[in-house]
Symmetry: C2
Subunit: 202 residues, 2 copies
């Protein structure tokens, strides 16, 4: 069987995932504005026409690549939304570790997009809604903890914001500093859930 035959057999869903993943990698390595559909096709070893079969434009591919990473995180909200607040927040933080390489790319692409002069309303909405959903998840978990007497009556929006910024900082720094400390930094963040600033002593 030749490589070509193998590729032809790919399920459309698998194929579109491979394209998304190549796009995410290329967009993150270079600036997305400098990546052509042809570059993504080459990285997937397919004809550029096949990419257009799945994605109508590079803008759509950018949104779908970001959306894919965001969806992985948001799946976590549902899983842990009704858990014990301490466990739920720790589980959400730790969920970032196995998908860290994808999140590092997402963080990079969002920075490039924001710094560029390119504005695409659906992409703007996607990013805004992602951060709003994260803030809401963190606030809900903290508020539930305060209501149950697990957490001290902290400033909930401010604490949620600090957690969210810490996550951004961890993924930004992992690339900018190149020190590969994500797992350790996430555990450091988890330990704040048990800090005397937040947790009611038993």
């Amino acid at each position: 069987m030749t490589a070509k035959q193998t590729r032809k057999r790919l399920d459309p869903e698998v194929r579109s995932e491979i394209i998304l993943s190549a796009a995410l990698r290329l967009f993150a390595e270079r600036h997305f504005a400098t990546v052509a559909m042809r570059d993504i096709a080459e990285a997937c070893q397919i004809n550029v026409a096949l990419i257009y079969y799945y994605y109508e434009s590079k803008d759509e591919l950018l949104r779908r690549a970001l959306g894919h990473a965001i969806a992985e995180l948001q799946a976590g909200y549902d899983v842990v939304a009704h858990a014990d607040p301490v466990e739920g927040l720790a589980a959400y933080f730790r969920m970032h570790v196995p998908i860290a390489p994808m999140l590092v790319r997402m963080v990079k692409i969002m920075a490039d997009y924001a710094a560029s002069n390119i504005r695409d309303a659906p992409t703007d909405r996607l990013i805004r809604e992602f951060y709003a959903a994260e803030q809401k998840f963190l606030e809900d978990s903290l508020r539930r903890g305060v209501d149950r007497g697990v957490f001290l009556p902290v400033d909930v929006p401010q604490t949620a914001r600090a957690f969210s910024l810490q996550l951004d900082g961890i993924f930004y720094a992992s690339q900018a500093r190149g020190d590969e400390r994500i797992a350790q930094d996430i555990e450091n963040l988890c330990s704040r859930l048990a800090s005397p600033a937040l947790l009611v002593k038993p």
Copy 2:
């Protein structure tokens, strides 16, 4: 007096600062690899040869632009190094606010540089030394606070790392989320110095 005459009168130090500042802005807006010396010359309304009079290459300009931003922060270490640890740390955090636009650019350029395949040993060293110096300043301040009985005996390297990542997160997020909350986020960070996780109650 024409504009040209005005430009001719510029002091070399002022001129080199203008070039650095334009380079920092252009490198941050686009990827530095896509910015030509000619683009920077145009932004400064000068001849490209004049840039080469001050900076021998784009690599040097990148290093000097980053170094300029880093120097502003490091000047702060000396100012606050011997102050009361709580006041010193708060002063260091607040020092970021007036120079925020420059720091947002620095954070963006460091991300682009790290994500690229371009490696320049002096730039690597500059970035590594910046974060090492920040970590050391934060650790020294925290340790002095612990020794004086102002701070609880926290894990000093871990707490310093968390502060440093929060700063990265604040500047990353300011651009990626476009929500212009730097001053508020810095005050939020300052408030952690008085948190029961850190400060010994009087």
